[in-house]
Amino acid sequence: MNFSPVNIMGTMPEIYLTVLGSLLLLMEPFVPKEKRSWLGYFAIASLFFAMIATIGLNGKGLPLYQGLYIIDPFSNFFKVVIYVGTIITILFSLPYLEKEDIHIGEYYGFLLFAAVGMMIMVSAGDLITLFLGIELMSLCFYVLVGLKRTIHRSVEASFKYFLLGAFAAAIFLYGISLLYGASGTETISGLSAFIQNPGALKPMVIAGMILTMVGFAFKVSAAPFHMWTPDVYEGAPTVVTGFMASVGKVAAFGVFLRVFWVAFSANKDHWTWLIITIAILSMLIGNIVALVQKNIKRMLAYSSIGHAGYAVIGLLNPSRESLFALMFYLFVYLFMTLGAFGIVLILRRKGVEGEEIQDFVGLNKKNPMAAFLMLIFMFSLAGIPPFGGFLAKFYIFMAAVHAGFTWLAVVGVLLSAVGAYYYIRVVMAMYMKDPEETVEFLPNRMEKIALFLTASMTVLMGVFPLPFVHYIETSLAILVP
């Protein structure tokens, strides 16, 4: 390990966030209870600071620490997405934590550390580094999910997530050890070189590859490793659910893509069908089980399983089209998911979160703006133009056809027609029924900013995506050291 200035400079964003997050934890006892929101603003400022540092590194493809850590346009794109997602999450958190009476300073610290974990994931050039990133992120998630200490559901969700997460981590680690045993290296580039020579495809490598795939599929909540998702999404504080469902998934997809496209590109034939199976199962289970959900958080959980299925299609074929499709998809997905969860967490019935679809009944009469925003997110998630979700799905199907899997695109579109039903059911409840419950929707300024950001991005990505497409196109490079 060589701590030369270049290496230190390259990891400056992560170092900033770690230091500032620790500082935040230190400051916490000195901040009076009613001024807790200052910690939130501090966290936002830290993220902006790190974002500037990351953008400053843009365009440089650098393997740092002898290839253990990679700074390339690809990882920088994901980091920027992580910053933006975390900032929006904090905007939603400020009033939410107050209302739920779980406003503790450590929350922001954990959020920042989770972000650092994700940044390490997407930059990892080595499976052990990668594992450290995943674990840092997951440990923060376990705590955040159980934030509502007094609520039975939240603690149960946290415990479930922890047990299953630990299990998945162990499987993942076992996969790494098999790969190391076979090849004698755990760097992604080393693995890639090892697998490229013809005699290398031993059962051990394939077993290791499958086990790492299980670990990733668990993190992106793709079927058949999705079982934890509905319970955890339902039990966690909604703001944390939104964070996990959007930012956490985006980061996991980034690393999924890097490992499979770089390390395992030579034995693509072995994993293509596994990916297709995962994609079809996820789309099937996600879209069909969501049809019968009554709790909107569970519905969105299943919808996120379905969306994982669509995004996984983007992994099929290492090409520019697929890379663009996946990045565009994740970018749009981040905003529409955060926005949808944002509406859910602001909506309150008798002071309690309105989580049932029933609570949305007649929302348009009470608060047309809230109903309209939810309509945008729902139609976008369903993939109806002119919203961003349509173009995202369009590019994914295009990648599938380009890879020669037209039939998979057909399966995908048919299942998304099935999926449209549960999204428009929410719209139906909001617009076509008369209000019954005493539901109120009173966003404060921070929440309004966050909603405005997510909704306008969702619309812009569908109507005028030019600047974002340009930005993603400049990030279409994966460095292979």
């Binding site: 048919l414 995506p465 030019l466 497409v469």
Partner: protein
């Protein structure tokens, strides 16, 4: 050609959408419904007047796209914001802009709750519908095509009848499922047709037979649901019956035409061999739709359902005309599309007039209206006669041309289609005899004759029914060149002849 320094087609698409923002300030203000209605009427009338300038600027001697605009929209995969119209789209656009003020007028008393939201939906829908007829980039077309679903879904679902939610969801899912296969076809065409979404460039190529057949079938799913052709029509009666009058008019007069427009614009020029291959299939479905729709109409008690099934029958004539592949047939189909838009739209408006007064659409509720509402009855009779293609009215021209065109190639089919004309006389005269004539039964509510806004919505259509019926040539000449071009593209390619 520009209007207020905005290219005219862009103006036509986005003017209603942007102008609908004017209504937003009145959203939750009570007692502002009057202003909102006048604003919506003003916007749609301006839109109509501006769209007339297309008629003046259009050169009928060219088949090419005119008033074209082309900007790069999304650089990845080369998606353009490309607009342009030929004679075919021109007629349909002017028909759309003409009917929109009527739909506002019919909502004058028909819509009483959430008026601003309704008018906003109507205006956004108008923009999207015009976009469908203008787009010359496949992705842009698809965006408009799908974007229409959202306002229409809300119009049926929020302001519809008792069973509106079921009807709205059925409408939405049916059309969505059909269109999604179109999306896959569009993507496949991009890779097969040389990495472009430009419709003109895509249609200038020749595709392999297997690809043509698969792609034709996928497109067929999208367009046949929209038209709707025989086995895919079940959403239509539900949607029509439950939708408010304005929604029914838009559905019947404009949205149904989009399916036929899709066949003409995409399926035929892109896949000529597959079109020939599927001709027997398409003709059979058309004949079934004509006869079966007419018989279903005969059995209806609800007037809206009756007209809905008559739409299935009349649209069968349109698909029949398209798939005989000669100039008369396709021109007749286009005339029939235009006339069906005017006549059926007017019939739905007429039913709306009755419904506003009595809140019933059942034939058995009415009788002897000729005494009570003489002017209304006269208009209703004119529209019904037009719908059954009485010579001298507009629909006669279209149906006659289709029958001539089909007789040249398929005499049996043509004679079967003629039975549709007879059947349509049966169900329409039956409706008239029960509603207009017969004995008047006194009701608890009053049945006053037409109010000014109802005059406004019906009178222009009556004039058109008669004018187009007597002098159809100016209309025919608008799209003659475009139709001739489509027919010339349809000549079987040498490869297909070998099979």
């Amino acid at each position: 050609m520009t209007f207020l320094s905005v290219p005219i087609l862009t103006f036509l698409i986005f003017f209603p959408v942007v102008a609908s923002l004017l209504i937003l300030p009145f959203y939750r203000r009570p007692d502002s419904d009057g202003i909102v209605k006048w604003a919506a009427l003003g916007i749609t009338v301006i839109e109509f007047i501006v769209s007339l300038s297309l008629l003046i600027g259009h050169n009928p001697h060219l088949y090419q796209m005119q008033f074209t605009e082309n900007h790069l929209w999304i650089p990845f995969a080369n998606i353009h914001y490309a607009l342009g119209i030929d004679g075919i789209s021109l007629v349909l656009i002017v028909m759309t802009t003409l009917l929109m003020p009527m739909t506002v007028l019919t909502s004058w008393s028909g819509i009483s709750k959430q008026v601003p939201l309704f008018m906003i939906n109507l205006l956004i829908l108008e923009g999207a519908m015009i976009g469908v007829f203008c787009a010359t980039d496949f992705v842009l077309f698809y965006v408009f095509w799908e974007a229409m679903l959202i306002p229409m879904y809300l119009i049926i679902g929020v302001w519809g009848g008792p069973n509106r939610i079921y009807a709205a969801i059925k409408f939405f899912l049916y059309t969505l499922a059909g269109s999604l296969l179109l999306l896959v076809t569009i993507i496949a065409l991009y890779f097969v047709g040389g990495h472009t979404f430009d419709i003109t460039r895509l249609s200038g190529q020749h595709y392999g037979m297997t690809f043509q057949i698969l792609a034709f079938l996928a497109m067929f799913a999208a367009f046949a649901v929209k038209i709707p052709m025989f086995p895919f029509h079940t959403w239509l009666p539900d949607a029509h019956v439950e939708a408010p009058t304005a929604g029914s008019v838009i559905l019947a007069s404009i949205m149904l035409k989009m399916g036929a427009y899709g066949f003409l614009r995409f399926s035929l020029p892109l896949f000529p061999d597959a079109s020939h291959f599927f001709t027997p299939f398409m003709l059979t479905l058309s004949i079934i739709a004509i006869i079966w729709g007419a018989f279903m109409a005969l059995a209806q008690e609800d007037m809206k359902k009756l007209i809905a099934y008559s739409s299935v029958s009349h649209m069968g004539v349109v698909t029949l005309g398209i798939f005989v592949f000669n100039v008369q047939g396709i021109e007749g189909a286009l005339m029939q599309m235009l006339n069906h838009g005017i006549t059926t739209g007017a019939l739905f408006l007429c039913i709306g007039v009755l419904y506003d007064r009595s809140h019933s659409r059942l034939l058995s509720e009415y009788g002897g209206l000729a005494k009570q509402m003489p002017v209304y009855s006269t208009l209703l009779v004119i529209f019904a006669l037009s719908s059954l293609a009485l010579p001298g009215t507009n629909s006669f021209v279209g149906e006659f041309l289709v029958l001539i065109g089909s007789f040249r190639n398929h005499a049996v089919v043509s004679s079967l289609a003629t039975t549709g004309v007879i059947l349509s006389a049966m169900y329409l005269l039956y409706m008239l005899s029960r509603v207009v004539w017969g004995v008047y039964t006194p009701k608890s509510y009053s049945m006053p004759d037409l109010k000014p806004y109802e005059w406004g919505s019906l009178l222009p259509l009556v004039i058109l029914v008669i004018v187009i019926g007597l002098v159809p040539n100016p209309v025919l000449s608008v799209f003659h060149q475009s139709v001739a071009h489509i027919v010339s593209q349809l000549q079987p390619s040498p490869v297909a002849l070998l099979h």
